[in-house]
Amino acid sequence: MPEERSKQDACPPRARFVRGLKLGLPIFLGYAPIGAAFGIVARGLGFTPLQAAICSGTALAGAGQLIALQLLGAGAGAVAVVFTTAIVNLRYVLFGAAMSQHVTGMTLPHQAFLAFTLTDETFAVNIDDSRRGTADFASMAGVGVIAWTGWVLGSAAGALAAGAIGDPTRFGVQFAMPAMFTALLVAQAEDRTHVLTAVVAALFAIGLMLILPDPWYLIVAPVLAATVATVVSR
């Protein structure tokens, strides 16, 4: 670690930030079309392009935002919409807990910024980078900024050009998230124990999808799989 630390110190924060931007570029490319899909639907429900961009820029909630639109479209009230998106995004409590072990020693404002840009993808990329010993605040902030930019620009573009873009699913937009999750899963499966943990989590997820209302399997399956892995690997 001391060697890694000195290597990082020799590299100026700006270069580390730019490195983070590059690391997060695939997230930008994945988020922009999904953000556009959000923008198109939001516009159809009466959001202005500015409101669509502000919503994406302040919530950065991915699936949570798309579900919010579905509920709004179905006539739900603001409280019900916000509450449902909170449930959908509860897994970030867990992600924040896992992230906490990689950001010890950072200032509270830095941690607040990383929390603000915490998504499924920034989480996985930053944890992976951190385990290699090459992540710090500047690089993590770079990953967060590029992801945020993709989501917000995509949302704004979708809302502005809703009529011209038409149905975004013909570009395969709906597979952008699963594709990123798959690559990030393989990146996390670094040894036999982690591969087995992934298999256990997948089995729990399938079982829980059958018996629990959505989206609880997203929280319960990782908790159970991590518990099994911890007990077995003791």
Partner: protein
């Protein structure tokens, strides 16, 4: 839809999403956790990604799809292989989306 509801949703989601993300990072990074808890947390990323993949691939949009009618499943397999072989996040994602379109056309 009224502008008031839209703004209420925007503000509510902004506050709630930050309130969900921030406390666990801020508190647990300042707490000395026992070794077992750290180990438990180290298994969360791989477990969470596996769960997200399964949810998004086997039951896209809340609908269960069998292997022979599921372009998500096959495209996900190719995406995983490409990442495993080339370690390129961007390459794997792009190849995955292209394969998804191809499998969608193929499987109807």
């Amino acid at each position: 839809m009224s502008g008031r509801i839209i703004w209420a949703v925007i503000i509510g989601m902004a506050v709630v999403n930050f309130a969900i993300r921030f406390p666990s990072i801020a508190i647990l990074s300042r707490t000395e956790l026992p070794a077992w808890a750290k180990r438990w947390l180290s298994y969360i990323p791989v477990s969470a990604m596996a769960t997200l993949v399964v949810g998004g691939v086997i039951r896209p949009d809340g609908q269960w799809l069998g292997p022979l009618e599921n372009p998500y499943l096959w495209a996900s397999g190719v995406t995983g292989l490409v990442y495993w072989r080339f370690r390129s996040f961007l390459g794997a994602t792009i190849v995955g989306v292209v394969c998804f379109l191809a499998f969608t056309a193929l499987l109807g």
